[in-house]
Symmetry: C2
Subunit: 419 residues, 2 copies
């Protein structure tokens, strides 16, 4: 009889686990995801800043497994997990498993201030990316209409909270749009008057990188017109701005790129979690007392060295996914499981046109070389031949013309508006 594996989550971790398992026809894979698409999240900021269309960085999960009849994909949310009975409950019923792989990732967190979300969307989903795109483009449209210079300044002020890679990418892209893409398109405002403020609570941007690269990124952002405020903690977000203790800034567009918290599914497993809600896993990526349940990706807390846990990065998630899949296949062959070992290929962040930073072991690179490396790697990893080619051409076109191809303001309501 076939071995039943349920994979929850079609992100980098879950997709890679399912791919490994799909090749063995004795395994029946059921892949569950709330959404119908796998998202290439490292490029989501490009959708939010009108550089790419959502479809260019997303693939229907089921089309990834077209050729694997032993993989079934359902667009469903998991309601409960019963580890005793080895079954998963969803809205459409319950599904039994021999092995369960959980890879539901992380959400952004407002540190207990969920009411800020309305004024400061985060960037994790396609919906959020198009909402941010709508807000950025709409702000310029409003500013063009307004005569009051103070109000105009509010609309031309953009605050990005969080100086990690996403915050840096967003800040850089907004500065570039305002200074190049939109330059000739407005009559009443000077888009170059745009104020882009990048706020970081810690002492420096991009804390995961070496300090020299972090400094270089700050300088690059400055040159592009981004103002960086470090050691600044947000205490309130409202419709028209942000407060930082005693200081405050008026801005109509605020974007949240600060906190991350683990998917709430971890809490349903009744197993130890770390401080940020991640599930603590064994060396083989399974739960401490349940070798039939694996947790991988951003939801997993894997201790690489004593006290040092792997960060929530796409390469970690992909490698963990493949490792969990392989360990199940080893079980089926009656061979011992392998302990997971992360092969660190380095980290990189892009800042803007021809500006990026890269850190591989002791090697630290900034500038145009790092940017080309970033470009190459991101195009290479985009799933599916088509996306890769299209994204590349879209970029080539943007690069040559300084234009952005997806400058659409799309309303939230689709209904007919009469009158």
């Amino acid at each position: 009889m076939a071995t039943k594996v349920i994979v929850v989550g079609g992100g980098f971790a879950g997709l890679n686990a399912a791919k490994v398992l799909a090749r063995n026809p004795q395994v029946e894979v059921l892949l569950l995801d709330r959404r119908n698409h796998h998202l290439f999240q490292p490029l989501l900021y490009q959708v939010a800043t009108a550089g790419l269309s959502p479809a260019e960085i997303a693939t229907p999960i089921r089309s990834v497994f077209s050729d694997f009849p032993n993989v079934r994909v359902l667009m469903e949310e998991v309601r409960g997990i019963d580890r005793q009975a080895k079954s998963v409950t969803t809205s459409s019923g319950s599904h039994d498993y021999d092995y369960l792989i959980i890879a539901t990732g992380a959400l952004h967190s407002y540190f207990g201030h969920d009411e800020w979300e309305n004024f400061a969307p985060g960037l994790k989903t396609v919906e959020q990316a198009t909402e941010i795109r709508r807000r950025i483009l709409f702000a310029f449209e409003e500013a063009e209409k307004i005569n009051d210079p103070h109000l105009q300044k509010e609309w031309l002020s953009f605050v990005i909270v969080g100086g990690g890679p996403t915050g840096v990418e967003l800040a850089g892209a907004i500065a570039e749009i305002s200074r190049t893409t939109l330059e000739k398109d407005f009559r009443h405002i000077d888009p170059a008057q745009t104020r882009v403020l990048l706020i970081e609570a810690g002492p420096r941007l991009l804390a995961a990188f070496d300090e020299s690269l972090s400094k270089r990124a700050s300088r690059d952002l400055e040159r592009m017109g981004v103002q960086t405020w470090t050691r600044t903690r947000v205490t309130e977000v409202t419709e028209d701005g942000v407060r930082f203790g005693g200081e405050s800034v008026r801005a109509r567009t605020v974007i949240w790129a600060a906190g991350v918290e683990a998917s709430p599914l971890g809490k349903k497993l009744s197993t130890p979690l770390d401080r940020s809600g991640r599930v603590i896993v064994e060396k083989d990526l399974s739960l401490p007392n349940d070798p039939h349940v694996f947790v991988i990706g951003d939801l997993a807390a894997f201790e690489e060295k004593p006290g040092k846990y792997l960060p929530g990065l796409a390469p970690v998630a992909m490698q963990e996914g493949r490792a969990a899949g392989r360990n199940i296949l080893l079980d089926l062959k009656g061979r011992p499981r392998e302990a997971f070992r992360y092969v660190d290929k380095g980290i990189m962040a892009t800042i803007g046109r021809r500006r990026a930073i890269m850190e591989v072991g002791k090697l630290r690179v900034g500038g145009i070389l790092a940017w080309y490396a970033w470009l190459f790697i991101h195009i290479f990893y985009l799933i599916g031949f088509k996306s890769r080619l299209f994204v590349f051409m879209q970029w080539a076109w943007s690069y040559l013309t300084f234009k952005r191809g997806a400058r659409l303001i799309v309303d939230k309501d689709w209904r007919l508006t009469k009158g």
Copy 2:
């Protein structure tokens, strides 16, 4: 002093009028549109059926006029028109004009049953196209989950109301998706079991075409798996289906491609309208008693021959736009205006892969030749080099692989969903 021209509406008519006027630096053009983008509406059904991304058929209006400093674009809705004072009121204030060009087009109409819209969206905007795409793709996802064969059949039933070009295009595309694109992607359902029903109140499909072509289109649709019901009038649309007098069909996805009514702005002009709310215009496209106000495009009722009015087609709108612009420039030169003459280049409709019909004067063509003509003309007319190239490649890719590039289910709400 510069002559002030206000153009309301950035569709085919308004955009072409503004382009003609933009070339004369003595004219100051103010272009008002509720949306920030010009939409290539003839291809909107491709967005609704996951073939193209919204950005591939839409261009920011203001980027069309980047190089014309005498054109100002505002994203605004017109609230009122005062023809005595020669001014237009919007949310941001009032704007004076010497000439006013109104090109706000048409909406779809539910013949007094606006409550049907929730269950049967129409196809005029990007928002509606992505909503229809969401419903079509979601229906297949639901059917894959369900075990009840009756409920499954409801989810796999698609009703398109209206047998004009849009209805035919949608029905053909949905049939193709279900029979080719999705074929290998589902395990539990056979997407080829999809029921696509095209409903037309009149005696035949595509009434604007010669009867022979209309028959050919019906046969082509039949071969593709579309069931056509003519002389069938919808009497009720609900969440789970459609009623036609005594008959009824259960279907979870209903799309409205039936009625069209003129934009409500026509009523604010206090000038004679025709039965469907269109504004009756003079030979020069201006209002009967007001040579300073032009109405063009789908909102205009232009009497070509006694009792025969021009239809609401993109080529009519484009030609009217250019003619209205030229007539204003003739005024400025002190020369007499020209009467508008529509140069009929024929009509065409696409049915599916290598299937289309075309009627040019006495020439009637069906099949692959008409399809290539349709393809060529639509790519050619797409505004902007980039869109043209990208759309062509997207199509080439879809054609070769039978895939569709934009199969995204995007939610209406962008907010974080926890738990």
